[in-house]
């Protein structure tokens, strides 16, 4: 039965219950959990739960609301008979995934390091390239993973505030990078959703390298597949020809595989060696391996996902604009929006009506919220809630 090649939907149809779905909808996701755990000591307050009986729409963790494509689901189900095999004994093995990724870029497997999500790679990078004397340079706000690890290790962290357009301040970051161990350049940037074009990134890399050639530059392209700015290009070719520069990618976003934990780093052979050394053996499950290979072979699915997200993005940006709430120029599957009030107030008011939006992002936690983009249907419901939540303050403001 499990060895059958029947498709995912035929097999799943029988096994799924309402209880399973409820269980899943109740799950909050570890990105939130991680942030909460990290902030626990100084958390201003815990997020309000969605009231019982209210259907939840989770737009808090920048996930693909549709999950993986059909080809990926079918590949996982076909792999059920291999559940008991270590990833290096299964067919395909984890080495085959590294090879498949390498082939897709025209590089060698040694240029690829697999991670249990890009999270493992960010952790390895901070461990490998920073020290008590050589710190981390990152944006503020930006993805918190690297600074969290550096702080846990007691390595210095320099956080450079984004510019007035919510873009990473490349000038200031390049200056701060001099003598640093590692620069974390999240492009597009989470949570501000803005992107820098290829020439700006190249200039940044050239500038850092001329002043500080030993500084390693990590360019996190987690949201690469959602960018629609024509001036943007991946930094992978730049990384391949430039020492001490590498790119991280993840299957958690456009590929819809956040729950499966697959990411990778790509760069020149010497740059990747410390990351290979730190890689946890058998870090990706047999299902993650086979799913990622199937995903790489389904380029059309990513094109469709980008188009779908772009439509939803335009709709949501306009709906919030109409409420007087301006978003930064998003090239991601989420928005960073000036809601004109503390994110915590907005978040709790939305949660009352079943809409779960993103956590606090200091230093903008008093004015801005991060809102992930769900399906068009979900965003129609969410923006209807935003209208009720955001209106009273507007009214008060008008009266004053």
């Amino acid at each position: 039965m499990l060895r059958s090649r029947r498709s995912f939907f035929e097999i799943v149809a029988g096994g799924q219950t309402d209880a399973d779905v409820r269980l899943w909808l109740a799950a909050r996701g570890h990105e939130e959990y991680q942030a909460q755990a990290t902030q626990a000591a100084d958390a201003p307050r815990r997020p309000k739960p969605v009231p019982p009986g209210v259907k939840e729409i989770r737009i808090s963790s920048n996930e693909n609301p549709l999950g993986p494509g059909r080809a990926v689901l079918d590949a996982i189900v076909r792999q059920f008979p291999e559940a008991g095999r270590y990833p290096f004994n299964a067919t395909p093995g984890d080495g085959a995934l590294a090879s498949a990724i390498a082939t897709s870029y025209g590089v060698k497997p040694e240029n690829i390091v697999l991670g249990a999500g890009s999270q493992e790679l960010l952790k390895s990078a901070v461990r490998a390239f920073t020290s008590p004397g050589k710190g981390l340079v990152t944006g503020s706000p930006s993805f918190e993973n690297c600074p969290n690890i550096a702080k846990r290790l007691g390595h210095p962290v320099v956080e450079i505030k984004v510019d007035s357009a919510m873009r990473l301040n490349l000038d200031a970051m390049a200056t701060a990078a001099s003598g640093a161990g590692l620069v974390f350049l999240c492009n597009p940037n989470n949570p501000t959703a803005t992107v820098h074009g290829a020439s700006a990134v190249e200039d940044f890399v050239r500038r850092v390298r001329s002043a500080s050639p030993d500084t390693v530059i990590l360019i996190d392209e987690a949201y690469h597949d959602y960018v629609t700015d024509p001036s943007y290009k991946t930094a992978v070719p730049l990384a391949m020809r430039t020492p001490n520069v590498f790119v991280t990618r993840t299957f958690s976003k456009a590929y819809g595989m956040a729950g499966l934990r697959v990411g990778y780093a790509i760069g020149a052979t010497d740059t990747m060696k410390p990351l290979h050394r730190l890689r946890m053996p058998y870090n990706i499950s047999v299902f993650g391996v086979t799913a990622a290979i199937a995903a790489l072979n389904d380029a059309k699915h990513i094109e469709q996902e980008r188009a779908r997200n772009t439509d939803v993005r335009q709709f949501t940006v306009k709906a919030l604009d109409d409420l007087g709430c301006k978003s930064s120029d998003s090239h991601c599957n989420f928005l960073f929006v000036d809601v004109g009030r503390p994110a915590a107030d907005f978040r709790d008011a939305c949660a009352e009506q079943g809409i779960v939006v993103g956590r606090d992002f200091p230093p903008f936690d008093k004015t801005h919220a991060r809102i992930s983009l769900g399906t068009m249907d979900e965003m129609k419901k969410a923006t209807a809630v935003f209208r009720t939540v955001l209106r009273p303050v507007t009214t008060t403001a008008n009266r004053l």
């Binding site: 499990l2 499966l260 499950s285």
Partner: protein, 391 residues
């Protein structure tokens, strides 16, 4: 291959210590990306190389994996928030508090966390030669010293020598049953050992790896979880990769004192949950909650394969160690590599080299009875004269 050797063996030094680290590395080299061809297993191969449960996780668990897709297959797109549920379920099954449990991406993550936290440049890792190499490999990578201890003549942990070596150490890796030798130290002797190390070297942490716990048939058998939850210097590691048949899913856990577990959670971040995939979490939930008869049946199935295979070798004058696991370590009187290559050519995959015994001993995992009947036929052909004479 050359890269793998160079990458792995460099700082430990000469002789026994270098031998421990070994030519090939752990179950799988950290340089895996360089060796994709070496890992590929041809379809139809009988895999007896990695101490897996040949039947996999079983229907109950796979049904839970299927259900975890939920909502039209959308759920794998979500970051899982269910690690806490699995932590609770594991704690409940073991009769401990959730704060006594931390999950890991296989026990690999657990072994690495413990080595990271409890060894240092002046606090060595202590382990037997041979044993499972993850802790030693990681300590070596961190530049922390490794102190190897020889086994006794029956390939068992030499508790006296081990306790002596533990003095002043950061972490003792106590793998019981021991991989790759399959030998087992009884519950009372282990408890005495833990107490002795604790008394003589109070700052030393002992990691008791119970990966093969469910396969033990020796009546003097018990878990050391009760010691661990009371003693901040004792940690028990467990995995779903062996008897539970989930090696492909990547899920393991540690049980210990609240303070020790807290340190491990903090070092890993996200309470250790960031590397855990959602299908493994739901598989783990189903596995730990299923009826205990699953493990009883798997233990009995393995014991039958074990007895059959050990008898086959014994009858041919090749002595296996006293296996209490789902694999055996047997003196085949020739280099493991020659045996392995010849078996592989005939569709049977046995384990890698385990120095310092790679010239005489081979580790063979137990497959299903049907697989073992086919495998011994191949072993008979490969071992040729020895086997034929005895038969």
């Amino acid at each position: 291959m050359a890269l793998s050797r160079r990458g792995f063996v460099h700082t430990v030094g000469i002789g026994a210590a270098a031998a421990w680290v070994g030519a090939r590395g752990r179950e799988h080299s950290i340089w895996s990306a360089f060796e994709p061809v070496l890992q590929a297993v041809e379809p139809g191969t009988i895999v007896l190389a990695s101490n897996e449960n040949p039947l996999g996780p079983g229907k109950t668990v796979m049904k839970a994996v299927r259900a975890a897709f939920g909502d039209g297959g959308r759920n794998p797109g979500r970051y899982s928030g269910s690690a806490g549920e699995l932590t609770d379920a594991v704690a409940k099954r073991l009769g401990v508090k959730p704060e006594n449990v931390v999950l890991g991406c296989g026990s690999t993550q657990i072994l690495r966390s413990a080595t990271h936290l409890f060894t240092a440049k002046d606090k060595p890792l202590v382990g037997t030669i041979p044993t499972y190499e993850e802790c030693a490999g990681y300590a070596e990578m961190m530049g922390h010293p490794v102190r190897p201890v020889a086994l006794d003549s029956e390939f068992r942990i030499d508790l006296g020598k081990f306790a002596d070596a533990a003095k002043g150490a950061g972490l003792v890796f106590y793998c019981n049953p021991n991989n790759p030798t399959a030998t087992y130290v009884g519950a009372k002797a282990t408890r005495d050992f833990l107490a002795k190390v604790n008394r003589e070297s109070p700052d030393t942490t002992i990691l008791v790896d119970e990966a093969y716990y469910d396969y033990v048939t020796d009546p003097d058998h018990d878990t050391h979880i009760a010691v661990a939850i009371d003693n901040p210097r004792v940690i028990v590691a467990r995995t779903f990769s062996k008897a539970y048949g989930m090696a492909g899913l990547r899920m393991g856990y540690a049980v210990g004192h609240v303070d020790t577990i807290k340190k491990m959670r903090e070092w890993e971040g996200s309470g250790g949950a960031g590397y855990l995939n959602v299908l493994a979490i739901h598989a783990g939930l189903a596995a730990i909650q299923q009826d205990a008869s699953f493990l009883t049946a798997e233990r009995a199935r393995n014991a039958a394969s074990r007895d059959f295979t050990m008898k086959w070798f014994e009858e041919r004058g090749m002595k296996p160690t006293a296996s209490q696991a789902n694999f055996m370590f047997v003196n085949i009187g020739r280099p493991a590599k020659d045996f392995r290559d010849a078996c592989r050519a005939k569709g049977v995959l046995v384990a890698r080299d385990f120095p310092p015994f790679e010239k005489t001993h081979c580790r063979i995992a137990f497959g299903t009875m049907d697989e073992m009947k086919k495998a011994v036929a191949v072993f008979g052909q490969v071992l040729g004269k020895t086997a034929a004479t005895a038969a």
